[in-house]
Symmetry: C2
Subunit: 153 residues, 2 copies
DNA sequence: TCCGTTGTTGCAACTAAGTTACAGGTGCAA
DNA sequence: TTGCACCTGTAACTTAGTTGCAACAACGGA
C-alpha cells in the first residue's frame, strides 16, 4: 500500500543562503528542489567530506528519503559541484568543490586509524618522487593518508 | 539440511612451500590447517594486494568456504602475518608482510582510476611536508595514491 | 496565470561485500 | 591414542549502495 502523499514543502537548512544554492544548482543545469538544496547546503556547511549516511541521517528529520539523497549526491557529482571519494574506510564521501578547483587534488585527506575521522590537510604538501629510472604514476593524482588525527595523537 | 561431511584433505597450492607456510603459521601461534595454508600460499604467490573475493574465488575449487577464507584472513591479519587495507575501491585487500617489515609503510599503493587495478609502487617515495607552523599528521602513515597505472596511461 | 512536459521524489526491493552464530569436525599437546 | 580447544562449513544477517516505478512538482511556453 502507498503512504499518503506528504506535503513537499519543508524548511531547508539555512534560509539566507538558499538563494545562492538555488542559483548554483540552476547554473549546473539542475532543477532547484528542496532535497537538492538541502544536500548542497549540508555539504557547504561541512568542513570535511561527508558520507551518504551522514547526510541522509542529518536530513532525515526534514523527511527526505535516503534514495533521494543518494541520487542527488550522484547528480551533484556528475554536475561537477561535488566530488566523490572513498577515503579507505569503505564509505563513499562527498565534498563540495570550492571555487571550482579540484579540491581533493589540492591537499591530501587523512583518515584517522584510531577514531576513523576524516580530515582535510590543506597545509600539508605531498611530494611524489620516483627513484632514478622508475616511472612516476600519471594522471591527476589524489593522495590519501592513514595515520593519527590531531585528537588521537 | 546439512551437506554430507566432506573429506578435509585437499591439495594446497604449492606442495614444496607448504612446510614453510606451516612453520610460519605455527610460529605465529596459529594451527596449520588446509584452508589456512592455502590462504597464506595464495597471498605469498601474489605480487599485489588481493581482495577477500579474489582469494575466495581462487580457492573455491579446493572446496574452501568464503567465510572460512574470511576468518583466516582476519586471523592472519591479527597474527601480524598479513596486512589489511582498503585501497579506496570499497574492497578490503590483504597483502603478505614480507620480511616482517611494515610493507605498506615502505611504499605507496596506486589504485588506477581507469581500470581499477591496484599496484605497489616500491620505487616511488612520498614526502609529506607540512607548511611552516602546520602540524604534520602523526602515527605510522600509510599512503594511497589514485591515478593512472602504467597500462592505462 | 495556467498547463504540459520532463525531471525528481518516496517507497520498496534488490545486490554485493562483509560479518557472525552454531553445530560438528580436526590439529596437536599430553 | 585421546581429549579439548580451535577451526570449518553452512546459513543467515548487516550495512552501504543501487534501481524500478508510479506519483509529484519545477519551470518554460501559451
Amino acid at each position: 500500500m502507498k503512504a499518503a502523499a506528504q506535503p513537499r514543502k519543508r524548511r531547508p537548512p539555512q534560509a539566507d543562503t538558499v538563494a545562492q544554492l538555488r542559483t548554483e544548482l540552476r547554473g549546473a543545469g539542475l532543477r532547484s528542489t528542496g532535497p537538492r538544496v538541502a544536500v548542497l547546503g549540508s555539504l557547504s556547511a561541512a568542513s570535511t567530506p561527508r558520507s551518504h549516511g551522514d547526510i541522509a541521517e542529518a536530513l532525515a528529520p526534514l523527511g527526505y528519503d535516503r534514495a533521494t539523497i543518494y541520487r542527488n549526491l550522484m547528480d551533484l557529482t556528475q554536475a561537477g559541484l561535488v566530488t566523490r571519494t572513498d577515503l579507505g574506510d569503505h564509505v563513499w564521501r562527498f565534498e563540495l568543490r570550492r571555487g571550482g578547483a579540484e579540491h581533493t587534488q589540492e591537499h591530501p585527506h587523512l583518515v584517522c586509524t584510531d577514531c576513523g575521522d576524516v580530515s582535510c590537510l590543506p597545509e600539508v604538501e605531498v611530494k611524489i618522487v620516483a627513484r632514478p629510472g622508475a616511472r612516476r604514476p600519471a594522471g591527476a593524482l589524489e593522495v590519501q593518508l592513514k595515520g593519527l588525527c590531531e585528537r588521537c595523537e
